[in-house]
Symmetry: C2
Subunit: 288 residues, 2 copies
């Protein structure tokens, strides 16, 4: 099977969307790539970098002509775009997204789209704390893992095309139901982001900046690197994965309470056990 | 002034101690380097690697002959070694250590040593989650920051020699009173280690290892890298900096509680503000 979309539209041609546009063109997967953005400057930048061939401030015209639409906006606005696109896109158009949370978005699609649903949620685990089309690159998805929504009511051909799309861009695809995806990434990604922000805030509250700056080493830098991520992206991720992040926070509090109790009691054995469980936990998760 | 010690003794020639032995020799700062360890295998390894010239299981003989003694054992055992060394070392011998906590150790020295005290606490911020003489290298201290104890009752010549020693090894020296040192590193280093262990433990508790392994990205790996540190070292650091780490944990809990409340209420503005404070906090601390 050859995967080729005559016209593909990227809604939100930033780091992820712009990279996708470049990758679609570099891999011959799309004839034309349209970009939809609410800021002309972002569209101009994406055009200049060759991430898109044409820019639109309104999604209706490009949606009508597209065989593929990928929504690359923050998690909180994907559902709104689906509502705008559903009545105008062609009956064979395939839709997906790249948001870091899946359950709320996929549930919205299921509630509003008559089956078989041609929106198939995706979460390519690529990107960084950088953002904007100026950081886009055609190989961003090369070697990353992309979760593709699994579940009933999805159009099998659309699902096959979305899986094929990510594989064609060099991504390893794993199939997960949206609920399980969100529960697991709450622990592997969302909670770490919440925690990194707290650690960074706390260190800044100590004052003595000139001295603290010299005391912070690689450990602090690594633990807090993701505290440099975009607030509006993480606000949306939190709002669309509230329950799972709350559960993860509760689990974390329980573990920190163990450490606190051991410290308070000066219990060396308990402290050693606590750090050893950190060793083994990390190795189990990373498979080392 | 030329800094040269006829005989220098390293108590605990592991990663930090072994590197120090190599660096003393590479920089012509010591005639002979003796190593004291409680395991013959470690001493043999340090000898083989040229980190020390002679190994001893008992500290008394090398202490008697040394002009410099550096205690490179975990924080919890430095005070005990000081008690063993004080009655046997020469009246002009200079002593220091490399432990990550300073207040308890320096207070012990002050309580047991008649002033002017020739033990000057040091904390070179070098090393990694690796350990053992096999990872030692002569340039470990090159470019790192070393905190050297500041305070009354210290022998000025001894303090000058310890400062000169670290500078000669390529380290930037900053002077801090032990209490302030411990309070600041509780936030920049010790709390992050406690938190990284909790995040790693929690992710491991989610099960679904085969899937989780594919979902963890650079973010998780960076946040939890220091969860791979040695439990017995971190037990000792916690036990010798209990109050400050407890205070830092309390501060962290307060911030996580803010995130929890914002999540529970679905308060997007508060969540965005929370992550933005993470951005600014990190940049303030790192001076970016």
């Amino acid at each position: 099977m050859t995967l080729h979309f005559r016209i593909a539209t990227i809604v939100g041609p930033g780091l992820l969307g712009g990279s996708l546009g470049m990758a679609l063109k570099a891999n011959g997967l799309a004839g034309k790539v349209y970009g939809v953005g609410h800021r002309q400057a972002t569209l101009d930048k994406a055009l200049e970098l060759g991430a898109i061939d044409r820019g639109f401030l309104d999604p209706v015209e490009p949606a009508r002509d597209s065989e593929l639409i990928v929504i690359c906006t923050p998690a909180g606005t994907v559902a709104q775009f689906l509502d705008v696109l559903r009545p105008v896109c062609a009956p064979t158009c395939i839709l997906t997204d790249v948001a870091s949370t899946k359950a709320a978005i996929c549930a919205h699609a299921a509630a509003t789209w008559p089956p078989p649903i041609r929106f198939i949620g995706s979460h390519p685990m690529a990107g960084s704390e950088k953002f904007g089309p100026e950081h886009a690159r055609p190989d961003l998805y090369q070697g990353c893992v992309t979760v593709v929504q699994a579940g009933a009511s999805l159009d099998p051909a659309a699902r096959g095309a979305v899986v094929g799309l990510w594989r064609a861009l060099g991504s390893e695809v794993i199939d997960l139901p949206p609920d399980l995806h969100d529960r697991l990434v709450a622990q592997t990604s969302h909670l770490p982001h919440v925690v990194a922000a707290a650690v960074a805030q706390l260190a800044a509250s100590a004052g003595h900046f000139e001295t603290v700056r010299k005391l912070v080493g690689k450990g602090f830098q690594d633990v807090t690197r993701i505290a440099d991520s975009r607030p509006e992206i993480w606000r949306d991720i939190c709002l669309t994965n509230r329950e799972n992040i709350l559960t993860a926070l509760e689990g974390l509090s329980g573990r920190l309470e163990e450490a606190r109790a051991a410290l308070e009691q000066g219990d060396g054995d308990a402290l050693e056990r606590y750090f050893r469980q950190g060793n083994t936990g990390r190795r189990e998760v990373l498979g080392e």
